[in-house]
């Protein structure tokens, strides 16, 4: 196992990564040419000079700025709320003893397997009753707490906080809330960052719920894409320029925090 892998391994991985990147490049390629590019026999290899013009048309066709603002708002608010409530509950499940903790945790785990579609109709009825349909807050509601968040934080904190540390703090007369604040929160920080990123991404990419509850004049990014796509006549330069624009924010986030994404997925697997 001490040998460095040979060219074959690098070659195969390189091919896979190329396949992963190619559709994104295609999106930018078509988005940077005029719409006639789709009818050419052989597609061009290099981007053209029409991206800004196509982007301008995207902003004219759909309320894209508003969509970006809405997506940013909904995703960051829900991510913060999930981290807050799930760290608190996850800490209790990981480190505190109380009656009913086992069945309650089991209950949380079981609900993780229930498809979200099953709850969509009543949530919609609830939003309609409250008069929230069309409002960006309605798009956030189903995501303000997640069962996965509690499970994830609990799994992390079980090992991250030594029981002796909590005992010692209690013996010194720390109240429970101070134990949580001075011992639990600092230890939870790396997992909280990962949970924040994952929730942000999950809500940003969500399609089904915002499609139901939002209107075309107050959309999220995904709903704006849906709007661009749903015309009968397809202008792929416009459409793929919009798709590129919609993908850029998450790409930036990914380049900045890819390490956390990778370790988050790998941790979830080992501990999950």
């Amino acid at each position: 196992m001490n040998r460095r892998p040979g060219f074959l391994v690098y070659g195969l991985l390189g091919a896979f990564v190329l396949g992963s990147a190619l559709p994104l490049y295609w999106s930018f390629l078509v988005g940077s040419h005029t719409k006639e590019v789709m009818t050419r026999q052989t597609p061009p290899l290099l981007p053209g000079g029409h991206f800004l013009e196509n982007a301008r048309r995207v902003f004219e066709t759909v309320p894209f700025w508003k969509a970006l603002g809405n997506s940013l708002l909904v995703s960051s608010v829900t991510a913060t709320s999930v981290v807050f409530f799930c760290t608190l509950a996850g800490f209790a499940f990981a480190k505190l003893r109380f009656r009913g903790s086992t069945p309650l945790l089991l209950f949380v785990i079981v609900t993780m397997a229930v498809p979200t579609q099953l709850g969509v109709v009543p949530l919609f009825i609830l939003m309609a009753k409250l008069g929230w349909t069309g409002s960006v807050w309605a798009a956030a509601i189903p995501w303000i707490v997640t069962a996965f968040g509690v499970f994830f934080m609990r799994q992390f904190l079980v090992d991250a906080v030594p029981d002796e540390l909590i005992e010692a703090a209690r013996v010194d007369g720390c109240s429970q809330i101070r134990v949580f604040w001075t011992v639990g929160v600092p230890a939870a920080r790396p997992a909280a960052a990962i949970l924040w990123l994952f929730t942000f991404m999950q809500v940003w990419t969500d399609f089904f719920w915002p499609l139901i509850v939002l209107s075309n004049d107050n959309p999220t990014v995904q709903i704006a894409l849906n709007q661009l796509q749903s015309g009968y006549y397809k202008d792929y330069s416009l459409l793929l320029a919009g798709t590129s624009l919609a993908t850029v924010p998450l790409l930036i986030l990914f380049v900045a925090t890819g390490r956390q994404f990778v370790s988050g997925i790998m941790q979830g697997a080992v501990k999950g």
Binding site: T116, Q117, P122, W143, I144, Q222
Partner: protein
Amino acid sequence: MTQDLSTPVGGAPTMGASPTGASPSAGMPTRRPPAPPWRQRLHHWDVTLSPYLYISPFFLLFLVVGMFPLVYTAYVSVYDWDLIGGQGEFVGLQNYRAVLDNPYFLKSLVNTISIFVLSSGPQVVLAVVIAGLLDTRLRASTLWRMSVLLPFVVAPAAVAIIFGSLYGDRYGLVNEALGWIGLSPVQWHVDRLSSHLAIATMVNWRWTGYNALILLAAMQAVPRDLYESAGLDGAGKVRQFLSITVPMIRPTVIFVIITSTIGGLQIFAEPRLFDTTPAQNGGSDRQFGTMTMLVYDFGWHLRDLGRASATAWLLFLVIIVIALLNFALTRRVRSLGGSR
């Protein structure tokens, strides 16, 4: 899944061993001068009540956005329920009957399963291979891991639009490439199986790298001396991979299969945005319409929330059945492998 989820459940008895949490407070008086009774009582309350205080905000919110909807869907499904008009008469199981009698129900069920099979099988196999390639002493290993995850950050809606253009019936790149090697173009949006293949490609593209990282984590937990002794016995790299790595990561493979079952059977954004017809129901004859699209169609096109709820429950049953089937199948494969 049980393998992976059993950790917290199995670990639970130790947590519940002393449910009052008395041990820290019992140790108090011996170390410190005796506290006044009211302080002790306060302390006792702090210990016993705090956990509930910490979990109650989560559970209160979860009750509203997570639990209430699940139960209420069942309630809505036995009523006439108009999207605008609201609750109507109690109709018993008639909504379920109407959904089951609808010709598009069986069609979308078959489509959903077909797309799922075309995506999950190749995806898991490819993910195992990629994970195996990543589980070597690569230079710049973090960069490679990040690179395979790239498609994961592209939203399903965007994936669907990009691949919809790649698989264009007239000018798509895939058909042009087929033309270069002398094959005739495929009607990706019209032909049923071809459209399933195109949609499965989107799912595979987005999720293979993600699953590879999960499997990679499991591979790294395999004791390295197993490989050393196998190497001494003369087993090559591929042989080691097939007879050590793959059996050792079985529980994680099952986990990946189950989670992709739950996710894959709910597929919605990909087929909807792949559709170029104005109705967006999954093609002109719903040749690639899925179960979740049927939920949307009943609820928000036909404005019948009762039938939408009934469809959602039927979808849930399908997911449970297929998840259990997958689980039983993977267990069976193990027992066959063990007897060899």
